[in-house]
């Protein structure tokens, strides 16, 4: 940006420092995630595993390569995807409470998974061959199909509906409808199946192996790539669709890409990790408050960094280093997230930046 007075320069410098800080934080969290867990692995051995050095203890190599590394990478991808999706939803609907699942995408995914886990008791042998076909991807496929269905509905309806608020309400209703069907399935299912479904709905970064991780990375990078084309459009949407149109933007196309990107991102996370709350809502606000801007040119890189950091931190805490216990991710995000947001909100004097998008 052109600098004419002192203020913007010092603001820019501060932001650069913040970016640097977060990069360091991410590196630290990454290493900690590999080092801590039920077993503590020394850093130099972690480095050894990463560079493929000989002589590191077998069990440690196994743990790092097959458990911790995929998990932390999953956390990074999920954190970025959720934050990116949340940011776009908040901007598009100009609603600070919007989250990645506001259009019912993860309800669709939940429906897919519910049918896969619970539905087979109804249709007997029909699902089993399909499940074995999908193999390790079966749950992911089921979730993706469900999410995809809702996404298609949203995109279709989005072309006809003028008012964003109307779209929002329709999305909420889709979500309620699919949740109702899931409840129905749960109601008529055997306890073991309900438990299996329950466990899925707690959310986890641990269930993703390398093959799945590759697919997840591809999809999420595509979604984030789409969003990265949109800083100008997203900034324009902050003023509303009318202003955006008079500034020469193709609002219909913009809306389509935003919906597509946000839904693919949130759908992918739900498909691979289960529904994970809080991160998508909170990270954009953290970014806005820390970097003191609503400008997406700064926010997009910011939420990528902050999303990765927050997600890794949550995953680390969930691992309860030193014990064998593992907490569900959703529990960690909510338990730590809610008080944090309360603290942020109460400590602000005027709160204007907190709540406006």
């Amino acid at each position: 940006m052109k600098q004419t007075l002192k203020s913007p320069t010092s603001q820019q410098t501060k932001r650069l420092w913040l970016f640097g800080l977060f990069l360091l934080l991410i590196l630290a969290l990454f290493l900690l995630s590999l080092a801590l867990g039920s077993v503590s692995i020394p850093l130099k051995d972690i480095w050894g595993v990463l560079i493929g050095r000989e002589g590191v203890r077998e069990s440690w190599v196994y743990i790092v390569q097959n458990s911790r590394l995929p998990r932390v990478l999953t956390a990074v991808l999920a954190g970025i995807a959720l934050s990116a999706s949340g940011l776009q939803m908040q901007t598009m609907f100009r609603n600070p409470l919007a989250d990645p699942f506001i259009l019912g995408i993860n309800s669709g995914a939940s429906l897919g998974v519910a049918i896969a886990i619970l539905g087979s008791s109804f249709v007997g042998g029909l699902f089993l061959p399909a499940m074995s076909l999908g193999g390790e991807f079966s749950l992911v496929l089921a979730a993706s199909l469900g999410a995809g269905l809702v996404l298609a509905l949203i995109l279709l309806v989005g072309r006809w509906v003028q008012n964003p608020t109307t779209l929002l309400i329709l999305g909420l209703m889709f979500g309620h409808a699919t949740s109702a069907v899931v409840s129905l399935l749960v109601y008529f299912s055997a306890p073991e199946r309900i438990q299996a479904y329950s466990i899925w709905s707690f959310g986890s970064f641990s269930g993703v192996n390398w093959t799945q991780l590759n697919v997840m990375a591809l999809v999420i990078l595509a979604g984030v790539g789409l969003m990265a084309l949109l800083p100008k459009g997203l900034n324009a949407l902050l003023l509303g669709e009318d202003y955006a149109r008079t500034m020469g933007l193709n609002v219909g196309l913009l809306r389509f890409i935003v919906l597509l990107s946000a839904s693919v991102l949130s759908g992918a996370v739900t498909a691979f990790c289960g529904p994970i709350g809080f991160i998508g809502v909170a990270v954009p606000h953290i970014a806005r408050n820390l970097f003191k801007t609503s400008n997406h040119k700064i926010l997009i890189p910011a939420i990528i960094l902050i999303g990765a950091a927050v997600s890794m931190a949550a995953s680390l805490i969930a691992q309860l280093p030193g014990s064998q216990l593992v907490l569900p991710i959703n529990v960690v995000t909510s338990l730590f997230g809610a008080p944090f947001v309360v603290w942020v909100v109460l400590k602000r004097k005027r709160g204007a930046t907190s709540f406006n998008v």
């Binding site: 007075l5 203020s7 003023l239 202003y243 008079t246 500034m247 003191k292 609503s294 930046t353 406006n356």
Partner: protein, 313 residues
């Protein structure tokens, strides 16, 4: 269908105010002219070319808008927000050139918000924020600037400043400026031309004075049940003015005394009718006194309030 048989022209260098009673369709007309709403029939030509044939970005270079509702952007600086007016000219990633920034700074200066450049938009007053939105619209370098009730949330000084600004933009910067407003008084004072819209969808064009003198104003607003007084250029109180009073004196004090008498339900006569009160306004140095002669008695007052209290109800 809201309005029909419209034949209107907007010229560069002119400041036009669209006025009319509530609900006649002013916003709809503006939204149709800017392309935010599709037209039902007829032709809209912008610089000789049909509106529909314009690409969005092309059109954005011709016309920009300022809408009524105050925006609620979170944390954006005034210069960042104004720079959004350059969107039609910057590429996909909104890379601003030297020239783009020059336009932005010049616009901020013209609108008079240059000192606020680095302030956050949400910390500004409503009036300042609206000026920033005007700056944003101007940064688009349009030939036509359209505003929909831009002064709705402003206080009176704020409204005067905006109307002055709009007039200057038209005459001094060779733009066509069209604004809808409920501020009849300011419109009559500042507009080069008025588009007077009535409740059956007709629009009468003309200089403000023409529309007042040929009775168009009175007629349009009378239909809405309000009486427009050509003498004062304002809306009159609905009192019938059955009681008579004679007023003497010169200067602004007399004008205001007459207004007070109207409000109290008096008709001010040209000549004194015996039996009615005689009010004489006497400004002396810094003190104004009112002398009332009624039924042979003369009483002096120092405030309009006391004067009105003394007159027969």
């Amino acid at each position: 269908m809201i309005a029909d048989q419209l034949n209107l022209q907007l010229n560069a260098g002119e400041f036009v105010c669209l006025v009319g009673p509530n609900g006649v369709g002013k916003s709809t007309l503006l939204r149709t002219v800017t392309g935010l709403q599709p037209k039902l029939g007829g032709e809209i030509l912008m610089s000789g070319k049909k509106l529909e044939t314009y690409q969005p970005r092309e059109l954005a270079g011709q016309v920009s808008v300022v809408l009524t509702s105050p925006i609620s952007v979170g944390a954006m600086r005034v210069d960042e927000l104004t720079a959004m007016g350059r969107f039609p000219f910057t590429g996909l990633f909104d890379r601003m050139s030297e020239h783009d920034w020059e336009v932005v700074h010049e616009t901020l200066r013209v609108v008079g918000v240059e000192k606020l450049s680095h302030r956050y938009v949400h910390t500004l007053s409503d009036g300042e924020r609206q000026k920033v939105m005007i700056a944003r619209a101007l940064a688009q370098e349009p030939r036509l600037l359209i505003l929909d009730e831009p002064t709705a949330y402003l206080d009176l000084p704020g409204r005067v400043v905006v109307m002055n600004l709009l007039h200057d933009l038209a005459s001094g910067h060779d733009k066509a400026v069209l604004t809808s407003t409920h501020d009849l008084d300011l419109a009559l004072r500042h507009a080069d031309r008025i588009w007077l819209m009535d409740d059956v969808g007709r629009i009468i064009q003309g200089a403000p004075e023409d529309l007042v003198l040929n009775g168009s104003f009175a007629q349009t607003f009378n239909r809405a049940g309000v009486r427009f007084d050509p003498l004062s250029g304002t809306f009159d109180s609905q009192n019938s003015g059955s009681k008579s009073v004679f007023l003497e004196g010169v200067g602004p004090e007399v004008v205001w005394t007459r207004r007070a008498l109207h409000r109290a339900g008096f008709a001010v006569d040209e000549e004194w009718i015996p039996g009615s009160p005689r009010v004489c306004v006497m400004p002396q140095n810094d003190v104004i006194t009112w002398q009332v002669e009624l039924v042979g008695q003369t009483i002096t007052f120092t405030t309009v309030y006391d004067l009105l209290q003394s007159l027969p109800k």
